[in-house]
């Protein structure tokens, strides 16, 4: 019996190690979202920015052309790293909508006032409820939604110029060309 207490740590650890190993294989960067090729889950969120009218975000806003849905939070250091890239994209005319995820109060709005605002519409999701529906694991995360509101791709982590040029930009072009 006493011996068991000494064996327990190694057994528990091996269990954790196996889990981590599987987790490593399931690299979140290549793990496809369970939403791929499914419509966006329904949501209708108010804007995170004070004083703007009708610029909140609903799942029905994703029609007509392919768009990006970027999950961000003012608390997220990588979002700050990604931010200049998003500003560039919005200047180039790429439609980017934002999900302000798990931000307290007007922290997200202040963050945007501070760093510049690349988003045409923003949904405010302080509780993270919509984030759960979307299967968000962390910020930043970006979904590519086609013109019929179907999720086509999920990118985890900041959009770097490489990611944009090699993956997202060709995908957007292809989606634009779709009937």
């Amino acid at each position: 019996m006493r011996r068991l207490a000494f064996i327990a740590p190694v057994v528990v650890f091996l269990g954790i190690a196996v889990a981590l190993f599987i987790g490593l294989g399931r690299d979140p960067k290549i793990l496809p979202s369970m939403l791929i090729d499914k419509p966006l889950p329904a949501f209708d969120l108010p804007d995170a920015r004070p004083g703007t009218v009708d610029r909140g975000l609903a799942s029905t806003d994703f029609t007509g052309e392919p768009m990006l849905l970027n999950v961000f939070g003012s608390w997220c250091v990588s979002c700050r790293v990604e931010h200049p890239m998003l500003l560039r994209l919005s200047q180039e005319g790429v439609p980017v909508h934002g999900l302000n995820w798990k931000d307290p109060g007007d922290a997200g709005a202040r963050w945007l006032a501070d760093l510049g605002d690349p988003y045409s519409r923003i949904g405010y999701d302080p509780t993270g409820r919509t984030g759960i529906d979307l299967g968000v694991t962390g910020a930043p995360e970006t979904f590519v939604i086609d013109k019929r509101g179907i999720v086509r791709y999920r990118h985890v982590g900041p959009i770097t110029p490489d990611v944009w040029d090699e993956t997202l930009a060709p995908l957007m072009a292809r989606l634009r060309a779709e009937a």
């Binding site: 740590p9 190690a17 987790g23 490593l24 694991t137």
Partner: protein, 655 residues
């Protein structure tokens, strides 16, 4: 040429680390002094070569050798020399070499100063260290070679993330590594003890200084990191429960437990196998900590598995080191001597309880950090874990622990009486209760947590002074005797008082910051004035400013408050090389709190968004950490004296 020299040095160090392991295990097994001396020489040579490799990287940065991939991707011509040198460890590859360098320094120190240890035991400790060194050097060489060449060499390099170009971040990683690597020495001691099947008071006396030094470095490193986040990220947050932060907090929590249990082992010969287990697990968490952030100094939630080759290597290494250590533990520890018995009310029991709470707190942080990974495997749901989780799991574990901290130092070894304990602490308990009640009345019923936190803080600070005051016998008003008692107070008692007082100070700071922080946002132009938190804040000027590798909007404010007038300068910087923006907040502080001003976006017609915070007692958070580290340093200096002194002298002081 320099890069090739460095690469060669790294390869030689790798081979030497392997030689060190094989030779020392062999020598210890055969009991051959000459062979063991050779192994120690290998450790010193390995140190020399790792230092050479590190120097080569630093030289590459100093001379802006853009033909080195590492240099080209983390520095450029405009970057000041100090930050180019800091980039030596600001990148993943360089930081791994720094880690190995610190490990080799520990190995070298053992080889030189460890002679008073039993020779075979020292040999086994250093053999394990050599194995760890080889694993890390192999990681550098096979998966993240810092000496990769770039052809053709560019004329200008990329830039170290501007957020990292800061004095705080220059010292933060080396301190953390000093902590992590220090725990590797405790790990090696534990493995060597398990191999020999022998643990005694001498073992604990040898391990404690290493654990203590590691703990001090980690304490300072974590608080530096937290302070950096506070002033650099531009919104005054100081802890985010980010995996990267948790990675350093977990070894700290468990290391704190190890520090205390090793004390019991040294003084009373109890908690033997538990201490060994802690030594193994603390290092294991340090390993996990390093690799959670291995893609650089700072990354996000997704740092785990950024590069599959590195991830697999690291995981394999962690599994071998921890799994091997724990398997050895399962095999050898049951046969070890069980410790001395102690009563339910005693210092041993108190420390056991402290260990249980710390271990449970570590487990909750571990679960919070890795839960997303586990859930992802069990089901197809992806989730993330944030501050609310820690508020309901971590806080309830920490509060009783904080209450207990006050009792620990005045408990007697072996057996004690409840009534006497309460008598000894009487006035400190009363003071804490008084603070609690006063705060409950002052803050109102809605802020019970605030009152509880402040009450605990007061109790911790008061109770930390109790052992000192009891010793000094000030109440007798015999100042000559008291003066002598104050002068002869052992450093160990000062150390405990300082460290525990630090815990109280941090508790007050955390409570005040969590509950009484206020802020105000306003668009301002030069000449505008705002009233906030009892102060009058006027923007005097707003002008462009050009730094060495950035442009900035610089706003100057004059602030008048109850403590007189002062000028504050806040900048919003743009780094064109990396297209990054940062905020340099203006911070004016004193013991009671900070005023924190950060300027936001310029609207082009002379207005900027200005955010102003009042951060009550925020400095206490880090002040307390510094006190804890200071307590550690005092204890360390005491230990060195005792280690250096022959045992005869110890008997004299005891008599």
């Amino acid at each position: 040429m320099i890069a090739e020299v460095g690469h060669l040095a790294l390869i030689l160090a790798f081979v030497l680390a392997l030689v060190q392991t094989v030779v020392l295990f062999w020598g210890a097994w055969r009991g051959d002094s000459a062979v063991m001396a050779m192994g120690r020489a290998a450790a010193l040579l390995q140190l020399a070569f790792v230092a050479l490799a590190f120097g080569c990287i630093a030289w590459g940065y100093a001379s802006l050798d853009f033909s080195m991939l590492l240099v080209a991707s983390h520095s450029n011509v405009d970057q000041p020399l100090a930050y180019r040198l800091a980039a030596t460890w600001g990148s993943h590859e360089g930081s791994m070499v720094l880690w190995t360098l610190i490990l080799a320094l520990h190995g070298g120190a053992l080889a030189v100063f460890g002679r008073s240890l039993r020779e075979t035991f020292l040999a086994r400790v250093m053999a394990v260290q050599g194995l760890l060194g080889a694993a890390f050097l192999g990681f550098s060489l096979f998966t993240s070679n810092p000496f990769q060449r770039l052809f053709p060499a560019p004329l200008q390099g990329a830039e170290l993330n501007p957020l990292l170009q800061d004095p705080g971040l220059v010292t933060h990683p080396p301190l953390l590594y000093l902590g992590y690597v220090g725990f590797s020495t405790a790990f090696s001691f534990a493995i060597a003890a398990l191999i020999e099947g022998r643990v005694d008071a001498a073992w604990a006396r040898w391990v404690r200084p290493w654990v203590l030094a590691a703990w001090i470095a980690l304490t300072l490193g974590i608080s530096l990191g937290s302070h950096w986040a506070y002033y650099e990220l531009g919104w005054g947050g100081w802890w985010f429960w980010d995996p990267v932060e948790n990675a350093s907090l977990m070894p700290w929590l468990l290391g704190t437990a190890l520090l205390h249990s090793a004390l019991v082992l040294e003084k009373r010969g109890a908690l033997i196998s538990w201490t060994l287990l802690l030594a193994i697990l603390t290092f294991s968490l340090s390993l996990i900590g390093t690799f959670l952030v291995r893609s650089g100094v700072l990354t996000s939630v997704h740092a785990f598995a950024v590069d599959a080759a590195r991830g697999s290597y690291v995981l394999a290494f962690t599994v071998l080191a921890t799994g091997g250590g724990l398997a050895l533990y399962a095999w050898r520890a049951p046969a070890m001597r069980t410790g001395a018995l102690f009563g339910p009310v005693s210092k041993e029991a108190g420390i056991t309880l402290n260990n249980l709470f710390l271990a449970a707190a570590t487990a909750t942080v571990f679960l919070g950090t890795f839960y997303p990974v586990f859930v992802d495997i069990m089901s197809d749901n992806a989730i993330s874990v944030g501050p609310p989780y820690y508020n309901i799991t971590f806080t309830p574990l920490i509060l009783p622990l904080l209450l207990l901290v006050g009792f620990g130092p005045i408990l007697h070894w072996k057996r004690d009486q409840w009534r006497e304990v309460l008598g000894r602490l009487g006035w400190a308990l009363a003071l804490g209760a008084l603070a609690l009640v006063a705060c409950l009345i002052a803050f109102g019923p809605g802020r019970v947590m605030a009152a509880l936190g402040i009450g605990l803080g007061v109790w911790l600070i008061a109770s930390s002074a109790v052992p000192l005051l009891r010793r000094w016998r000030l109440e007798r008003r015999d100042w000559g005797t008291s003066g002598r008692l104050i002068r002869t107070t052992p450093l160990a008692i000062w150390a405990v008082a300082l460290a525990h007082m630090g815990v109280g100070v941090t508790t007050v700071g955390v409570t005040a910051m969590s509950i009484f922080e206020t802020n105000h946002v306003q668009r301002m132009a030069p000449g505008d004035t705002v009233q906030f938190a009892g102060r009058t804040i006027t923007m005097d000027s707003l002008e462009p400013f050009v730094g060495p590798n950035y442009r900035a909007d610089r706003a100057v404010f004059s602030v008048t408050g109850p403590l007189g007038a002062r000028e504050m300068v806040s900048e919003r910087r743009f780094y064109p090389n990396s297209q990054n923006q940062t905020t340099e907040a203006a911070i004016a502080g004193n013991v009671l709190g900070n005023l924190y001003i950060s300027v936001g976006e310029n609207d082009g017609i002379g207005h900027v968004t200005v955010r102003i915070w009042d951060h009550p007692f925020v400095g206490w958070i880090w002040g307390g950490a510094v006190l804890m580290a200071l307590g550690g340093l005092v204890s360390l200096s005491d230990r060195r004296l005792r280690l250096g002194a022959p045992s005869r002298k110890m008997k004299e002081t005891a008599a």
